[in-house]
């Protein structure tokens, strides 16, 4: 049986449509269990009906991304924060 989910690198393309920086390289903190780690380590379900990225520690939803025609909806309520390296 194939894995039910992909790793967080699957978010790079879809989030690249929205953000100028590579969010998969960011460090996030799970709002449910406090686990801190790179976005690339999240467990990603989808892509349809939407991308659902879950915490590898507690399986809670950290990030959701739905892409409709001409619109994207991004929900980050499961992430306390994202730490990003930004160019000076």
């Amino acid at each position: 049986m194939t894995a039910e989910y992909l790793d967080g690198n699957a978010l790079a393309g879809p989030l690249g449509e929205i953000f100028a920086v590579d969010v998969t390289a960011a460090t996030g903190r799970c709002a449910n269990c406090g686990l801190t780690g790179p976005v690339a380590s999240l467990h990603v379900y989808g892509p349809d009906p939407g991308l659902v990225a879950r915490c590898p520690g507690c399986d809670e939803v950290v990030l959701r991304l739905v892409r409709g025609p001409g619109t994207a909806w991004l929900d980050l309520r499961g992430a306390v924060s994202l730490r990003l390296d930004v160019p000076e």
Partner: protein
């Protein structure tokens, strides 16, 4: 040759009448998932209806499967554009489950093992429009398709037919569910192509 192709087109046309706008037909049964597949042992499974006044109605697996069963054959329409015709299910009409439930609530929030939720007006669950099903195509409902039991509300996009359903909360105010808070339409009528918020 002409006869055959005319006949073929005729059949296609009838199927097309059953296909909401923007949908295409599939023969297989695609699996879409937003999380890990919950495994719910039947001796710990329960289904509840919580009313807006705080009353809880509860069924064990044994109690649920002792209720009168129906075998609906329905067309299902996924918001990701596939439709499947004449799917056959077995389960209990929600009219039976709501028989003893006293409520003046207008809204229902369906919740599942694994944390999924979806909302719909209570009236869309009643009058022969919805079932709690535990068998598909003559077999036990597989976990990947929502077993032990899922909701079946075929007149709305299939994300409203929550897999691994655990209960229904009746509410005086509408409470948008998992996909409804992430850009999908609050009601989801396939015939009006209500896919996304604002459609």
């Amino acid at each position: 040759m002409n006869i055959i192709s005319r006949g073929f087109r005729g059949r296609q046309r009838r199927d097309d009448d059953r296909l909401p706008p923007g949908q295409y037909l599939v023969e297989d049964f695609p699996v879409l998932s937003a999380g890990p597949t919950p495994r719910v042992p039947l001796d710990r499974w329960e289904f509840t209806i919580d009313t807006e006044t705080g009353r809880t109605h509860r069924w064990s697996w044994e109690e649920f499967t002792a209720l009168p069963m129906e075998t609906p054959t329905v067309d299902i329409h996924c918001v990701t554009k596939w439709s499947k015709l004449d799917t056959t299910w077995e389960g209990v009409s929600l009219d039976v489950l709501f028989d003893d439930v006293e409520s003046a609530a207008e809204y229902a929030l369906v919740h599942s093992y694994g944390g999924y939720t979806t909302n719909l007006p209570l009236e869309d669950l009643l009058d022969g429009q919805a079932w709690l099903v535990h068998r598909f195509d003559g077999e036990e409902l597989e976990p990947r398709h929502g077993g032990p039991a899922r909701l079946l509300v075929p007149h709305l996009y299939f994300w409203k037919s929550a897999k691994w359903v655990r209960g229904i909360r009746l509410l005086d105010e509408d409470w948008p569910g998992f996909w409804e808070t992430a850009g999908y339409h609050n009601y989801g009528d396939p015939w009006r192509e209500q896919r996304y918020e604002g459609d």
